[in-house]
């Protein structure tokens, strides 16, 4: 029980720590950020429910005003900014990513975690992101979808990283990979 809570809090903090890596803000106001790697890892390591809880905890702290988003941003304002769709999609992304890792035991963990990250951290997440952009920027869904293409290469690299790290962690500390525990 205490272990689960500590690991959930750790991963929420990990998302925050990844915000220390410099971001690159695209023209329409949403940055390319290492924090989405944290979202993927929440799912692949903690599994669906705890992964989503870690992200929710992170968002809660963000909403409470801690400057945890890349570039030291924080506060409620973010939830009405162009990033809002992505932020709302983050817990769902972690949940779906974790669900895939929990259910699919057929291939090596690295491959499973990588593909799960693509499904949850890209496919599912972008649905929310695009919707958010369409609302905040008053664009059509199609136009918004074009904008997020810029994130694809970076996010694929992150998915691969998530796969590799998860597999290595499962080797070093198997009992801490809750998605497979």
């Amino acid at each position: 029980m205490e272990r689960n809570l500590a690991l959930v809090a750790l991963f929420a903090a990990l998302i925050a720590a990844l915000g220390l890596i410099p971001k690159f803000t695209l023209g329409f106001g949403v940055p390319i950020t290492a924090q989405s790697l944290g979202i993927m890892l929440c799912g692949t390591v903690l599994g669906s429910r705890r992964g989503a809880m870690a992200v929710l905890l992170f968002l809660l702290l963000l909403a409470l005003g801690l400057p945890l988003l890349a570039g030291g941003r924080g506060g409620l304002g973010l939830f009405v900014s162009p990033s809002a769709g992505f932020l709302i999609g983050w817990p769902v992304a972690a949940f779906v990513t974790g669900l895939v890792v929990e259910k699919w035991r057929g291939a090596s963990l690295a491959v499973v975690a990588g593909i799960a990250s693509v499904i949850g951290g890209i496919l599912v997440l972008y649905v929310f992101g695009v919707a958010g952009l369409a609302v905040t920027l008053k664009k059509s869904g199609y136009e918004a979808a074009l904008l997020v293409v810029a994130f694809v290469p970076g996010d694929i690299v992150k998915a691969v990283l998530a796969g590799v790290i998860t597999a290595a962690l499962a080797k070093a500390r198997p009992q801490s990979v809750l998605s497979r525990a």
């Binding site: 809090a9 903090a13 409470l64 801690l66 924080g74 905040t136 070093a172």
Partner: protein
């Protein structure tokens, strides 16, 4: 960790956090229901005025939070000028600025402990149906704890590396760091348990 709460003590610091949050929600709904340029210009000017009231230091901190939005503002303006709807562009920009400004205002005038109290209050119904909300409170505190220690642990590892290597720490440090973080969480879990854990 530094929170975004302003060290400049304003009158709003003493207002109940819950009231401020509720007012903010209301204001945001109103902002997004209005389309008039005049309305948004007045609201934004009012926001700036409110920021200026507690003094220059507070104003500067507040403006810094808005300046961060400039790429977005530039693109929306250019885009709307290109498609021939500059007024609509201005409305989008002003609305966003006001919404962010108001939200940041709440953030800047409310302490973390007060925010945690609101969370406690919001979670009260959960408590009544038997959910252990103590976990939520401890969870918040733990994140605040892990964030600087993660950076610390990273720095420690980098130092241990440079004590024995002339080269900069390489990617090989990633796994040790991850494992260190996990071990840290396991230690915290044990320390929590030693002092009662989630029993209360």
């Amino acid at each position: 960790m530094i929170s975004l709460t302003s060290p400049v003590e304003t009158r709003a610091h003493r207002w109940p956090a819950g009231v401020k949050l509720a007012a903010l929600c209301g204001a945001t709904v109103v902002l997004f229901s209005q389309e008039g340029l005049g309305f948004h210009a007045v609201v934004f000017a009012a926001c700036l005025l409110v920021y200026r009231l507690p003094g220059r230091r507070f104003f500067r901190a507040g403006v810094k939070g808005l300046v961060a939005l400039w790429p977005f503002i530039a693109v929306v303006l250019v885009w709307h000028i290109v498609i021939g709807a500059p007024v609509e562009g201005l409305v989008v920009v002003l609305r966003l600025l006001s919404a962010v400004a108001l939200a940041n205002l709440v953030t800047m005038t409310t302490r973390l402990s007060a925010m945690i109290e609101v969370v406690r209050w919001l979670a009260a119904p959960l408590r009544r149906v038997g959910v252990n909300t103590r976990a939520l409170e401890i969870g918040i505190a733990l994140v605040v704890r892990f964030t600087p220690t993660l950076a610390d642990k990273g720095a420690q590892l980098a130092q241990s590396w440079s004590a024995r290597s002339p080269k900069k720490p390489s990617w090989r440090i990633v796994m040790p760091f991850t494992v260190l973080a996990i071990d840290d969480a396991e230690h915290v879990a044990e320390a929590l348990k030693a002092r009662g854990g989630l029993t209360r």
